[in-house]
Subunit: 456 residues, 2 copies
């Protein structure tokens, strides 16, 4: 294989032709790239990370069940056989539709066709200050941050000097009763009740309290009422305190306020909503309430037939409902946008997108889940097995699939979670948290006394 030298040419080494730029290698962007494999065009995939992330399993990383690399694959590795495709690690700061250029933090790149698949981020509904106290779950960093907070909360409980402080460390609040919130709450309860049950000497981890707060009248609001009721029952069986119809009015380092009520908790997680990434605002086009880009029926931008928006960043109404921000929808949109680009390259008109709902699955815990496939309803072990099979099937790359299956079988048989690591740098963040406690008047520095000089 000869080396390529000289100035930058996107898609260098591929046949000459039109240039298609894809921003984001999530489910939508990656599928679009794969559909363009045999096109005569040159394709450039831009992402600020070097890996594709299997986001539906991110909560497993956050709860120490899986390793980051179990649910990720290097983008280059996935696309290595596509000779017309170049992958570049780059941060996109804006889109200039008029001149057809993608602006990067350190340069810019022109396109003939654009597929924008930059995704969504956590939505704190105007309360940005809550973000530091209640991290959300969108990236590896988020997942590792949550994992660290959870594991350190138990460590801090072991060193807490009084019951009030210990209870605060052992209370976990999850805000938002959608699929992510339900998954997180179920997994946290399992960690406390099984994984860590025998690890501590001064408290029983089963004393831990997991509270799931939902603003609406039921969890999993996008599902049918029977599924919601079943999910709530399964959560309660796992020991989760499910509270619907609750409105969070404040979050700080020491807990959550619900109007006149206060829940003292050192660990609060956010799963209440997402919005389109801020990059969308640089388009200068109408966005919906959730910051998503309103597209034409063929997924292109109004007035810009050469630019498409797909996935979580795309606002697309079908019937009276918005297409949901889930992986299958993003993949269908990726396929469709790529097909429309190929139509335009061939001088043909584009076609309208139609979303096909294949059903919904949400997992809750060990052998606990709900599924809705057409008119078909499942819950409990069968739904969980369906969820397991589908998620393993869709994990990219054989190696990950086999590894994840192995980790899950092991976890299922033993209740152990393999990825219970607090890495060194994160210990520092704990000391910061810890310092915060020490300054509240509650002595967190409890490692006092000894056999020779135990005062009490």
């Amino acid at each position: 294989m000869p080396a390529h030298h000289g100035p930058f040419r996107p898609g260098d080494g591929a046949p000459a032709g039109r240039h298609i730029v894809i921003v984001g290698a999530g489910f939508g962007g990656l599928r679009a790239a794969q559909q363009l494999k045999s096109s005569p065009a040159r394709v450039t995939v831009l992402d600020r990370r070097n890996h594709h992330l299997f986001q539906p399993l991110l909560y497993q990383v956050a709860t120490a069940g899986l390793n980051p690399s179990d649910i990720a694959a290097p983008i280059r590795g996935i696309l290595r056989r596509q000779r017309n495709t170049t992958v570049l690690l780059a941060e996109v700061t804006a889109i200039d539709l008029a001149t057809r250029r993608v602006l990067l933090s350190d340069g810019d790149i022109g396109y003939d066709f654009l597929i924008l698949a930059a995704g969504a981020t956590d939505d704190y509904f105007g309360h940005e200050a809550w973000a530091q106290h209640a991290p959300g779950l969108k990236s590896f960093d988020d997942a590792v941050e949550i994992r660290t907070r959870v594991l350190l909360a138990f460590e801090a409980a072991e060193r807490a000097s009084d019951d009030v402080e210990r209870a605060r460390w052992l209370t976990f609040v999850v805000i938002g009763g959608g699929p992510t919130g339900v998954e997180l709450a179920g997994a946290l309860s399992e960690i406390a009740r099984h994984t860590l049950a025998r690890d501590f000497r001064r408290f029983d981890p089963r004393e831990a309290r997991v509270v799931l707060l939902e603003r609406g009248p039921r969890v999993l609001a996008a599902y049918g009422e029977a599924s919601s009721a079943s999910a709530a029952r399964q959560l309660e069986r796992l020991g989760v305190d499910v509270r619907t119809g609750t409105m969070v009015t404040d979050i700080d380092a020491h807990g959550v306020t619900l109007g006149s009520e206060r829940i003292a908790a050192r660990t609060v997680l956010w799963a209440a909503g997402v919005r389109g990434v801020s990059l969308a605002r640089t388009l200068g086009l109408p966005l919906d309430r959730a910051g998503r880009v309103v597209v034409e029926r063929d997924l292109s931008l109004p007035g810009h037939p050469e630019a498409f928006v797909i996935g979580d960043l795309c606002a697309f109404e079908q019937g009276s409902k918005s297409v949901p921000g889930v992986a299958p929808a993003a993949m269908q949109m990726g396929d469709h946008a790529a097909a429309n680009v190929l139509r335009l390259l061939g001088g043909r008109p584009t076609e309208a997108f139609v979303y096909r709902d294949k059903g919904s699955l949400a997992t809750i815990g060990r052998a606990a889940a709900v599924a809705e496939i057409g008119w078909f309803r499942l819950s409990g072990l069968l739904a969980w097995l369906a969820w397991l099979g589908i998620h393993i099937f869709f994990l990219i790359g054989f190696r990950n699939r086999a590894l994840v299956l192995f980790e899950w079988s092991w976890a299922y048989l033993t209740y152990q979670r393999g990825a219970r690591l607090i890495t060194e740098s994160i210990y520092d963040s704990w000391r910061t948290l810890w310092g915060a406690v020490a300054t509240t008047g509650t002595p967190a520095s409890a490692a006092q006394g000894s056999a020779a000089a135990s005062a009490d």
Copy 2:
């Protein structure tokens, strides 16, 4: 299991008695704790991390072959069945031998017996400024830092605008020809020649150059001459440029200086030496040249029969040689120090430590290694299989063993490395590196031009 409340008592929940504090849960500290399982004393294990690390395989994390959690196990999990033992996450800042207290960053703790097993850190021989340009490999943070630097170097090469800059990104220098340096150099060469061989469009990763610099006359100086020669041959077969008798006089962000010679390289790794952690200096006792604590024949401190130092932090001469800083030596010392504590508890005299050398093994790459066991010498595939078997056998916990075997079999068959992740926060560190390039006059921001407006 009832919860324990009230003020801090180390070893709470265990039978009352004398208090043994172990600082550090590496190979030595952990073995000592395990030997004290049935003792009537209360045992407290202090570590600044929540996990025991299988350090001999850390280079595999640094070179994206294994995940962090494959080679680590939570200390609590390992010791959970030892009811007389409490594990605390804490940072030890000093030892006060006179009052028998361990000082923490946030408190202190008394002891009747102390086993100090705090380990070693990288030694830059007075050139502390080199540390930022040439990270060493002692912790997870180090391993992830090295992995990130290596993967980002290839990404940067893909975006480099000229050949000189690209060559600089594709040159990897490893300083130090001991086991760690040899392992790192071999693995880096395999990554370039096999793992990434087809991933890039503008250069062939096989152009990458791996240089191993050793100050002495041969690599693996602690081994026999035949093994050293065999290791050098095996490294060269993997494409490593082995240079012995070279003296590094400077390291900066752009390369390494060897007297009048200069090697331009963006990635430099340090494996040239270690020294005892600085905690040793707080003892106020004699240290050897490498900052290790000089102990009595029974591993106790001069004048302090109740305090023992073991593992990499311990300077112990046997015959004319110093006991090496390897895992088997630390484990033997851990066993011995614990046995001596038990003797003292029983009113008996301590015994002198005798190190039993079970042999040495160093791996170089795929099917490449050297082994010396008694008079027995092995190299190549057989030595590698011996190395593989022994390392998997000694990995703590079945789960890790099976996973690592799986990962290695997969890597062996496919040359793929599963843990090729650059996590988000680390992208920022790359931008810093990248920025450094941009200010040297070499335009790193190479993502210029497009199909529509390619100037060149």
